[in-house]
């Protein structure tokens, strides 16, 4: 079981959360002028890495707030947790 540190509530068990997919996906602006290819990429193309992945999570059964998690899809290691609007932590390799 993962122990996630909700930025609002503190450490909570995994079942209280839902992973809501990749974070930092920017909507093309102005949307009306985006090409079909740009729009399709925005909707469907994800990085799907084996390793560190920027994700959005929601504390569904707690405070219900959304936040960002930098997590390894390979080892489940959680490298960083930060609130929406806070800068994206850079990867150190």
């Amino acid at each position: 079981m993962l122990l996630l540190h909700c930025p609002y509530c503190g450490p909570r068990w995994e079942q209280e959360f839902q992973c809501r997919g990749e974070a930092h996906i920017a909507r093309p602006e102005p949307a009306a002028e985006a090409s079909d290819a740009t729009w399709a990429a925005y909707l469907y193309l994800r990085s799907n890495p084996k390793g560190l992945h920027y994700e959005r999570w929601q504390h569904t059964h707690g405070c219900r707030r959304w936040f960002n998690v930098l997590r390894s899809t390979l080892t489940h290691e959680i490298v960083a947790i930060y609130r929406p609007g806070e800068p994206k932590p850079e990867l150190k390799r």
């Binding site: 079981m1 609002y8 450490p11 909570r12 068990w13 059964h61 707690g62 219900r64 707030r65």
Partner: protein, 201 residues
């Protein structure tokens, strides 16, 4: 022709009043009497919002995650960084009071009295009962009297409030439609310790 249905508590069908005892038991359960409940959302950094809520109920807005102010029957519970639950006496017009005091201050208020069932749980082994279906660390040094949190218990979402009392005592707020399930889950989890049904008051 109009029909007048009698108001029933969410667990009325269990006839708890006739099964209630005053016997000492390691765990006890009750259905709390009806209460007035409301949710208020607003900006905790807005002094006008904090002052308005405080004027409406005479209780300070709890700003620290997982804390509450007031007592069991009259309290403000932290739900999120901009969201609180208010509990007052049955019939109290909580949203009306909020509207009066908050006026033009940006906020949202929703009456939810009949959307929730209130179950009381107590006794020396009450924490062990909760721990059977909840991954929270419920040790009294962490989940102290006055603490409150939304979490999962026996797979359903509940709001758990550790009452400010000398002996372990909790109020559980659960969606009305889950009340029967949660009651039976609790009674089953408590049966190995010995469980008494109490009058709710």
């Amino acid at each position: 022709m109009s029909w007048h249905y009698p108001r029933q508590s969410p667990l009325a069908h269990l006839h708890l009043a006739v099964r209630a005892t005053t016997a000492e038991a390691p765990v006890w359960l009750c259905e709390r009497p009806p209460a007035s409940l409301a949710i208020v959302r607003g900006d905790a950094d807005d002094a006008g919002f904090r002052a308005g809520v405080e004027r409406a109920f005479g209780l300070a807005l709890p700003l620290v995650a997982g804390t509450s102010t007031g007592q069991a029957e009259r309290c403000l519970l932290w739900l999120g960084p901009d969201e609180w639950l208010i509990r007052g006496p049955d019939g109290a017009d909580l949203t009306g009071r909020l509207g009066q005091e908050l006026g033009d201050v940006l906020h949202q208020r929703v009456a939810i009295s009949d959307a929730r069932a209130l179950i009381g749980l107590g006794g020396e082994r009450a924490r062990e009962v909760l721990s059977k279906g909840c991954g929270l660390d419920l040790h009294p040094s962490l989940f102290r009297p006055g603490a409150c949190t939304q979490t999962l218990l026996g797979r359903v979402g509940v709001l758990l409030h550790a009452l400010p009392a000398d002996r372990p005592q909790f109020d559980l707020y659960v969606a009305r439609s889950y009340a029967d399930y949660l009651w039976h889950w609790l009674a089953d989890a408590a049966s190995e310790f010995g469980c008494a049904i109490r009058e709710g008051g």
